[in-house]
């Protein structure tokens, strides 16, 4: 049995679960220190980027109280990332919300990927970091077996719609629970309603998360868009309980036998 180091942190309005598989117990202290470093990083991200905190740099930047060059360098990086995702998604990803600057759609995936990279830099070879349902996975949970990721069924609490097997990679799911009530279609200003959830599987969580949000806003058109992207596979459950997936999805994911 492989030893586990599990840490659960409430941060960024969600829950981030760290699950590190230790080669042996002698690694536990070093990995605990790495988790502490990653947790400090996530709280720093929350303080800088939270749109729920009036004193965050993003909130102050949105009110034009401070300039971009007065913010952490990460702020400019994240806004540039938002712009790239906006272009790649043909405008379906937007970093403004109700007239305010809101890069929330990339911050979680980006910060959780960075947290995973902090663990890897500290020597972790097998771990998962789960930021409120968006995952960066490294290595294996046990020798010879990949991480089995249950895709939560959006219409049935604590049930699963699909299972994805990943060694090194990322899985992000966007759905109606985001932003409190909904993801908006930026072209209509109305909530996107065709889909209940979209899952994107890729190598890195930053883009997987952003593209899942964009595909959710696109609705059924998100399938052709995801199909057109190299290195991204998608799976969606529609509001009516039907589903679709990209042609490469069955290589990484499967549907459970009813």
């Amino acid at each position: 049995v492989v030893a586990r180091l599990v840490h659960v942190e409430h941060v960024m309005g969600t829950v981030v679960s760290f699950d590190i598989r230790l080669d042996d117990e002698s690694r536990r202290a070093a990995m605990s220190a790495a988790v502490a470093e990653a947790v400090t990083w996530l709280h720093r991200v929350d303080a800088v980027f939270s749109t729920y905190r009036a004193d965050s740099q993003i909130s102050r930047l949105s009110r034009a109280e401070i300039a971009l060059d007065e913010c952490d360098a990460d702020v400019a990086d994240v806004l540039a990332l938002c712009a790239r995702v906006g272009t790649a998604s043909r405008g379906y990803f937007s970093s403004t919300y109700a007239g305010h600057l809101d890069p929330t759609g990339v911050v979680k995936g980006w910060s959780v990927q960075r947290a995973s990279e902090l663990l890897s830099a500290a020597g972790s070879r097998n771990h998962s970091v789960n930021g409120g349902g968006d995952l960066q996975l490294v290595g294996e949970p046990e020798p010879g077996r990949c991480w089995q990721v249950g895709i939560a069924h959006p219409l049935h609490r604590n049930m699963f719609a699909s299972v994805v097997g990943v060694r090194d990679g990322a899985v992000a799911t966007s759905g109606t629970a985001e932003r409190g009530a909904h993801v908006l279609d930026p072209f209509t200003g109305r909530p996107a309603v065709q889909l209940a959830s979209v899952t994107v599987v890729s190598a890195e969580l930053t883009l997987a998360d952003a593209y899942a949000t964009a595909a959710f806003a696109m609705g059924h058109a998100g399938r052709d868009w995801l199909e057109s992207l190299d290195g991204f596979e998608g799976f969606a459950v529609a509001a009516d309980g039907s589903g679709w997936w990209t042609s490469g999805y069955p290589k990484v994911g499967s549907l459970p036998v009813p």
């Binding site: 219409l155 604590n158 699963f160 060694r167 039907s242």
Partner: protein, 88 residues
């Protein structure tokens, strides 16, 4: 595909639905369909919902859960919370 190909530990079965005038008129088990993004054919697949216990019996024990953003309150009742609590 940069994400490594997963080990599919159990069979893949989908149900193909024929929808006529908005109603399901036929449901056929199909084997491993490949979506054709250029197909204009309207087809839909009913997505089953299974519990982690049933998946485990099928040999697909779950290590971690992906789902739309979860609140702290919802986390407490989630399968992810149970997985986190089950420290090996």
């Amino acid at each position: 595909m940069p994400a490594s190909e997963g080990d599919r530990t159990f069979g893949l079965v989908q149900v193909r639905l024929t929808i006529t005038n908005g109603k399901i008129t036929a449901a056929t088990a199909v084997d491993y369909p490949q979506n054709d993004p250029h197909s204009a054919e309207i087809s839909a697949y009913a997505i089953p919902a299974l519990s982690s216990e049933v998946l485990a019996k099928q040999g697909a024990g779950i290590d971690v859960v992906s789902g739309a953003t979860i609140t702290s309150d919802a986390y407490a009742r989630s399968v992810q919370a149970a997985l986190d609590a089950a420290k090996a």
